[in-house]
């Protein structure tokens, strides 16, 4: 088993982000829940204007990482810098000011169930701006048009399919024209058409709006297809990073098992158990 972090380089690879080109800089991140260590010395750089994927098996702390970047959790050790600001040191007002410039797409969509699609997208505009209602209407319709759901403006969240709910949530996330968007498992549980729509939307919106996108996912194929750079995390550490092409041809057994979806490898098929024959005979 290759426990070392693997770094791959190829002609198509973007250079390692640094300086002002780096929007999110994570250094020596340590975070634990009780006795369970989630991150054990993680270093990450998210380049500005690019689409960076953070992949890893279920339970590897990917969603926790987004919550740490958004300041909803505080690291036990290490630093998280977003646009030059140390997130863990920000006061409430400064943190909320920073969050206005971030969008986050939750796995469930997290739409407010008592509001229509229109009102959900208008929510951040109404909360944070004094724009007249006519302008809010125009802005909301523009955002809904971008995700193809202008016609669904009067529907309730309960009337939407899973894919539509995520697209509405995406429209809401870009309502305030943020500098970055974080996607938490955007492809989970989607049918092929919804999946295709989301994959394309995430890439197109990133490029058209000049966003920085962070996708947390374990859907390797879809995520790799649109990402500029990929980090693979497992057991609290970054075990591989590089362009999707470079990671596809990695020598690391652990990264290879994850990227190719192999049932057995460094992560064994069998949960640790006593010897099979002994177990049966001792009954």
């Amino acid at each position: 088993m290759d426990g070392k972090t693997t770094k791959m380089h190829s002609s198509a690879e973007i250079t390692a982000p640094a300086g002002s080109e780096t929007l999110v800089k994570i250094r020596d991140l340590y975070f634990a829940r009780g006795d369970r260590v989630i991150f054990d010395g993680v270093d990450l750089d998210i380049p500005r204007g690019k689409l960076t994927a953070i992949m890893g098996p279920s339970g590897s702390g990917k969603t926790t990482l987004l919550r740490l970047i958004g300041g909803q959790l505080t690291p036990d050790q290490g630093s998280i810098e977003v646009d030059g600001l140390q997130v863990q040191e920000l006061g409430r007002k400064a943190l909320y000011d920073l969050r206005r410039r971030m969008g986050m797409l939750f796995q469930s969509g997290a739409l407010l169930t008592d509001l229509t699609v229109f009102d959900n997208v208008a929510f951040p505009l109404r909360e944070h701006t004094d724009l007249p209602e006519a302008m809010i209407r125009d802005l909301v319709l523009m955002k809904l048009q971008a995700v193809g759901l202008r016609g669904a403006r009067d529907l309730q969240p309960s009337e939407l399919s899973g894919g539509m709910a995520r697209r509405v949530a995406l429209a809401r996330a870009i309502a305030l024209d943020p500098m970055m968007i974080m996607y938490d498992e955007p492809f989970t549980g989607q049918d092929p058409i919804s999946m295709g729509v989301l994959v394309q939307l995430i890439r197109v919106l990133n490029d058209a709006l000049g966003l920085t996108s962070i996708i947390v996912s374990h859907d390797v194929k879809e995520t790799a297809a649109i990402s500029d750079y990929v980090y693979v995390i497992s057991q609290g550490k970054v075990i591989g990073q590089g362009t999707p092409e470079a990671l596809g041809s990695t020598d690391s057994d652990r990264v290879k098992q994850f990227m190719q979806g192999l049932p057995d490898g460094p992560v064994p098929f069998h949960y640790p158990a006593p010897d099979y024959m002994e177990d049966l005979l001792n009954a």
Binding site: Q72, G103, F123, E127
Partner: protein, 259 residues
């Protein structure tokens, strides 16, 4: 034995941690109240949901409680030839005790449980986390309007309960059992004191409204975000609210009428 003591210690720590969290939570809500007053539309929506929608159960219960009181009171009073005091018996029982207490219990069951379930489900479906990430404080936007609405609604519902209860007693006592109408109202007017009886009842309902709504919104916000967690929190809201209402009723009654 050692494990039992450990468990006791853990429970003790857990209790005080929850108590501390709930007090900090209340402080945050109170800080958010001015923002709610600046956006009355949020408050009005919650007043409708928490208060107006609780009206049917409060009115129906009030009428029946008043009717039963009149029936029971009449059967006792008639033995002493004092059935004309029925109005006083009904009014004092309802205004001092049953109005605030029964309304508090019904309010916990109807509105408190709904608040906990709604807020708990908002947490379980990441709506509260989503608001936080949109730089909207869910305590100010979601919790504070609900808390204020509960605090305002409860005394009003208790007042309505008392009013319809007295009319329920009137219907049975005067309408069905033949108590003199003038005696029913005039004895009530002369014996029920505005300060000692009515105001003390109002104070009770204000205290119950505060405590029940606090328990309800805290249990919702502090829930374990799963179906089972929301279910447990909703149950806890009703049980803790009932204990709080009954316990505080005794304390308040002792303070108000003890001497």
């Amino acid at each position: 034995m050692l494990e039992w003591i450990r468990g006791l210690g853990r429970s003790g720590f857990g209790f005080f941690q929850t108590l501390g969290r709930s007090n900090l939570f209340l402080l945050k809500i109170l800080v958010g109240i001015p923002a709610v007053l600046a956006r009355p539309r949020l408050l009005v929506a919650q007043l409708f949901s928490v208060g107006v929608l609780s009206l049917p159960i409060i009115v129906v219960s009030g009428v029946f409680v008043g009717m039963v009181l009149a029936l029971q009171g009449y059967n006792t009073l008639v033995d002493f030839g004092a059935e004309e005091s029925l109005g006083v018996v009904v009014a004092l029982s309802i205004v001092r005790e049953l109005g605030p207490v029964v309304t508090g219990l019904l309010f916990a069951g109807r509105a408190g449980s709904a608040l906990t379930a709604e807020i708990g489900l908002m947490k379980a479906t990441e709506q509260l986390a989503g608001m936080e990430m949109m730089a909207v404080d869910p305590i100010h936007r979601v919790i504070a309007p609900r808390f204020l609405a509960g605090f305002i609604s409860m005394p009003l519902l208790a007042a309505i309960f008392s009013a319809v209860g007295i009319y329920g007693g009137y219907f049975v006592g005067v309408g069905l059992l033949g108590v003199d109408e003038g005696a029913y109202w005039s004895q009530m007017q002369s014996k029920v004191d505005l300060y000692d009886d009515v105001y003390n009842g109002v104070i009770k309902s204000v205290v119950f409204g505060f405590v029940v709504t606090w328990i309800a919104v805290f249990e919702g916000y502090d829930t374990v975000p799963t179906s089972e967690g929301v279910s447990r929190s909703t149950t806890r809201t009703v049980v803790f609210s009932a204990f709080a209402v009954l316990g505080l009723d005794f304390v308040l009654t002792a303070l108000m009428f003890g001497d």
